[in-house]
Assembly symmetry: C2
């Protein structure tokens, strides 16, 4: 694909839900049109913009000024940056601040930031006066590709991540790839893992394209980023359009996440989310190969692609400890320990309702191997 | 209606929602069938029974023993009785306790109690692992007639009651009028106000019947109570089936509540909810009569019916202070101060989308009159 072709990317993907559909609007420079789009997509007359203090510094003034100039009634609410803020306390404070500002049922929440912000702002919107609309303005690869699409909202609690929340589809998602340039390089790399996951389960062409343009994606070239985000959003939209509430098919998006979440937890959340999911993908490819579900060499293909931009070092993590988190997860999932497996890059295995039964011993072995890099 | 006819009351009302429908099962002695019905209506394999400590003492052992005998996997969680417990803290504690018990997506929450419990348990279910089913087992008139039907769940916050919550329709509502016998007489009287409200807006026959059987309702004769609850549930089900999310028609259920909530708040919540709503109904009838919307004498009819079982004394409440709460409420409602009015007992006024614009001065006058009993 030439740069000229890429230059034309200004795309809207519709995501179907049980109560209608919402647009994911992807376009470089979109942020400048934000006031018009907020009104158009929400029909609201007042807006609560929720951002962490970092993003507020970067974009708060720009967005706030543009909204005020356009005559919008806007309140900007911030919280401390970081996953540690994605909790019930931040949710309570934000909700109280909105009530103090006198925001009514005619308001719209706008989440501007990464996955922490879109999850938190979404949960605020889901529960404010029994639900008001939310428009998500993702500013990271992870949020554009994954967090802001699909309607999952929530907070972390002591027992684990995302265990309290609600399904609350946004009124719209507005992604401007130009903002990716302000992300730290490491965060871009972490977020791109989800794009590779989308390619791995459902689109070999996407997987290959990501490898081809990797340096430009890591540099956040807006048009290249827009194209990659678009394809990933199309893949995710097709999945959640088919199964909104994770009853069946939507589980395919969990590829790499069963082992990945256990690895992330065993690291005490010091390991990046993307790195943990990447190791999880390798582990679940390893499992698949040993069960004869996944073509031999698939784990190597994933490893080559992912290690090109991420340090995949699990050597400090104890496989037994990670395995303990698998058991806790299994309990919450009603005693089921089932894995999404792929046949090869681009083709998820149908299995039994898109998952496979995997003996605990085999999962532990896979954890040992990928954590040791063997 | 003779006792023999009443003896036949074992009724199921279906409430339509955007995502299907749920049954409200009303029958004396229903509690004995609870284990079977919980499984039948939820399809769950594990249950979290949520009750306040009073109700847990009264019914916890009976329900718990019956469920265990039936082989159900049941966890009983309690919280301190009273409206003060309907807050985010109780919600957090209950959610954490469920996570500690390892309850997964296959669980079902069961709310056993009055309106505080069904609202709180409903909000726990709405947000636990992004939503699990809830079965409501109301034990008060208010919860049977109103709180457990319609899908509204939530908690109170500093800024006001029910300002944080979600729409989360139950999987089923199981109402056993036999338990009403253990309610304090005063609480029965408070709850019956909502039944009179249903009659006032939509069913003059129901209103008359309530007057006819009032002593037996106050004594909680199971079959008489079952009939009254049934009619009220039918009325409410018809309303919320037509407008689930309170966009239009559902507002008719707010008759008496605009002034009533302001009166309740101005009393510092020392006045019973039913008494406050009763005074609100009188006030809104007064407004309607002065606007020429409501037939002359309607306020007197309501006053005669309601004062037969409730002390309607608002003399300690300052009308100006109550009016201040109206303004706060108006702010949250996007600057709209609109009232549901009736033409006469049994007939709500269509107005403009079921509400009327009422000048603040007229509302203040009505507050002054009903609080002074003049």
């Amino acid at each position: 694909m030439t740069d000229e072709e890429l230059g034309a990317v200004t795309s809207i993907v519709d995501v179907a839900t049980s109560s209608g559909s919402y647009p994911v609007h992807i376009s470089a420079g979109l942020l400048d049109e934000l006031p018009r789009l907020l009104v158009e997509y929400s029909g609201a007359t007042r807006f609560a913009i929720i951002a962490d203090d970092h993003v507020a510094l970067l974009y708060g003034e720009r967005i706030g000024a543009a909204c005020l100039e356009a005559g919008l009634d806007v309140t900007v609410l911030t919280f401390p940056a970081g996953e540690a803020s994605k909790n019930r306390k931040s949710w309570s404070i934000l909700t109280d601040e909105m009530l103090e500002a006198g925001l009514g049922r005619d308001c719209c929440v706008v989440g501007v930031g990464g996955g922490v912000t879109t999850d938190l702002a979404g949960f605020v919107a889901a529960t404010y006066l029994r639900g008001v609309p939310v428009i998500q303005v993702p500013t990271s690869y992870l949020a554009m590709i994954d967090a802001s699409v699909g309607g999952k909202t929530g907070v972390d609690v002591r027992a684990g991540k995302n265990l309290v929340g609600a399904f609350h589809p946004p009124a719209a998602v507005l992604a401007d790839p130009e903002v990716l340039g302000t992300l730290p390089q490491e965060e871009r790399a972490q977020g791109l893992v989800e794009a590779f996951k989308h390619g791995t389960i459902l689109d070999a062409g996407h997987f290959e394209h990501l490898i081809d343009v990797l340096p430009r994606l890591l540099d956040a070239e807006p048009e290249v980023a827009a194209q990659a985000v678009l394809t990933s959003v199309q893949i995710k939209a097709a999945v959640v359009g088919r199964d909104e509430f994770e009853g069946g098919y939507r589980q395919v998006l969990n590829f790499g996440h069963t082992l990945g979440h256990a690895i992330e937890a065993a690291s005490g959340y010091t390991m990046g989310h993307g790195s943990a999911i990447a190791l999880g993908m390798l582990g679940e490819a390893d499992i698949g190969e040993r069960l004869g579900v996944t073509d031999a060499g698939t784990r190597d293909t994933l490893q080559a692609a992912l290690s090109a931009f991420l340090a995949l070092d699990g050597s400090t993590i104890d496989a037994g400890e990670a395995s303990g988190f698998l058991s806790a997860d299994k309990k919450v999932r009603a005693g089921r320990s089932r894995y999404v497996l792929v046949e090869r890059v681009g083709t998820v295995s149908e299995g039994e309702q898109w998952t496979h039964d995997v003996p605990d011993a085999l999962a532990l072995e896979a954890l040992r191997r990928v954590l040791a890099g063997s």
